[in-house]
Amino acid sequence: MMKTQSNRVATLALFGALTLFAPLLAPFSAQANDEAIAMVRQTSDSVLLILRDEATDSATKKERLEALLTEHADFPTISKLVMARNWKLLSAEEQTEFSLLFRKYLTATYGRNVDSYSDETVKITGSRDEARGDVTVQSKVMRSGDDILVDYRLRQFDGKWRIIDVVAERISMVSNLRSQFQEVVSQGGTKKLIALLREKSETGGDDVLGTAATK
């Protein structure tokens, strides 16, 4: 008799504790994900708006994309993650220079196809909690061919969710760039890396517009 009663008390206590704490815990994580999802939805809507705008020339489109990227991606963090142990090989000025060139490089790389937009739409398919309080928002770019899976890894900075990685079809941009940068640094040092970034962010983007236009 005593045993069942103490069991019941324990169950009640546990239940009580859960009901007390549940409202504190559950909405916290759900709300966090909602905010992250809202941020990705808003950003991809803005991207689509820029791409769909037929009246604007591609140089302006690229500028707008870069502004959007600057606003929603956390470049100081991405720079550090991509450079990893090589980050400290750069002096303070070089770090600033790197961050600037890196942003330009990404805009040139990802802005290559600003003119090849056809009928793509973006659908948010879910979200996932990650280590260190990060959240991954999963999306699908719907188009005439096969859909493309695009995940955004977000981290909160001063209450604002910012992108720290883009994972397209399970390929993490941070992982890929880190591997390339590591290779360049180990072969030619950080000077080579900065020189290559400058070269690619200047010529890479322009050249591409040429090839895109002729297609």
Partner: protein, 270 residues
């Protein structure tokens, strides 16, 4: 995959080649120190691999890419999709075998359903009705099966003609080839021709992607090496299959190192 002209010899030759290649791979993987972390590719033969990569890239630029561009120009998009679907459908024996070997009965059932549906209503695989009915395409090969069984990948290897690989996936590829159903009554030349069409059609679907990668990467070699490592890891993990249901499993610590900047990197290395 197939070399000689007469059939019995070609089978014997294939078995011999398979064994020889398998032994080479095993020797290579034993010779190389196996030290790979999640984000660093184990590439002790980088010098050799870079030479092979250069060879493959040259072959692609001079032969495959121009042919694929011609194909892309001549064959409309629906035609290319049809060819792609036929080859994907023909992979059924390999997919099914490996789904069973990895004990993925649901996946095996989906593959079987797709194969029956697409081979009949889909006219030999030309149309992918399975996809529209919610039976999503998924491929499993022996390299993935070996990985699921706990066999490590070994050092990165750039194979001539075949591209990025490693001992595990290379041996897997030989098993894949054996698991395929080769119509024995068809002339070798015809099979070669059909295989070539598959390769050209596949390359035609990647014209823009490869061009972008070549022009924007800082180091094309390590770009491809990392891409291969990530693609294989994803294929083994099979996240893309059940992504619709939402994958809530927490990422492992290894994978998460990527998102952690260690302020003490320098102290660690010295």
């Amino acid at each position: 995959v197939k070399t000689s002209t007469s059939k019995p010899l070609s089978t014997a030759a294939r078995v011999a080649m398979t064994l020889a290649a398998a032994m080479t791979m095993v020797v290579l993987s034993a010779a190389a120190p196996a030290t790979a972390t999640a984000n660093e590719v184990n590439d002790p033969f980088e010098g050799f691999n870079r030479a092979m990569f250069k060879f493959n890239d040259g072959l692609d630029r001079w032969i495959l890419e121009p042919v694929a561009k011609g194909w892309d120009f001549v064959v409309p998009e629906q035609g290319q999709t049809a060819v792609r679907n036929i080859f994907a459908n023909a992979l059924f024996p390999v997919d099914f075998t490996n789904e069973l070997l990895q004990w993925k009965p649901k996946g095996a059932a989906v593959s079987l359903g797709r194969f029956v549906l697409n081979s009949t209503l889909g006219v030999g695989g030309i149309f992918d009705h399975g996809d529209t009915m919610g039976l999503e395409e998924n491929h499993e090969d022996f390299g993935q099966t070996f990985a699921v069984w706990g066999i490590g990948d070994g050092p990165y290897l750039m194979l001539p003609f075949f591209g990025p690989s490693n001992p595990r996936d290379g041996i897997g590829m030989l098993f894949d080839s054996a698991a395929r159903v080769w119509p024995y009554y068809v002339e070798d030349e015809v099979i070669w021709g059909v295989a070539a069409v598959g390769v050209i059609n596949f390359r035609a679907g990647l014209i823009d992607e490869i061009e972008t990668a070549r022009e924007t990467s800082l180091d094309y070699y390590s770009f491809v090496r990392n891409l291969y490592a990530q693609r294989r890891a994803a294929a083994i993990e099979n996240r893309d299959v059940d992504d619709a249901a939402g994958d809530d499993s927490a990422a492992s610590d290894d994978a998460d190192d990527l998102y952690y900047y260690d302020e003490n990197y320098d102290e660690d290395s010295e």
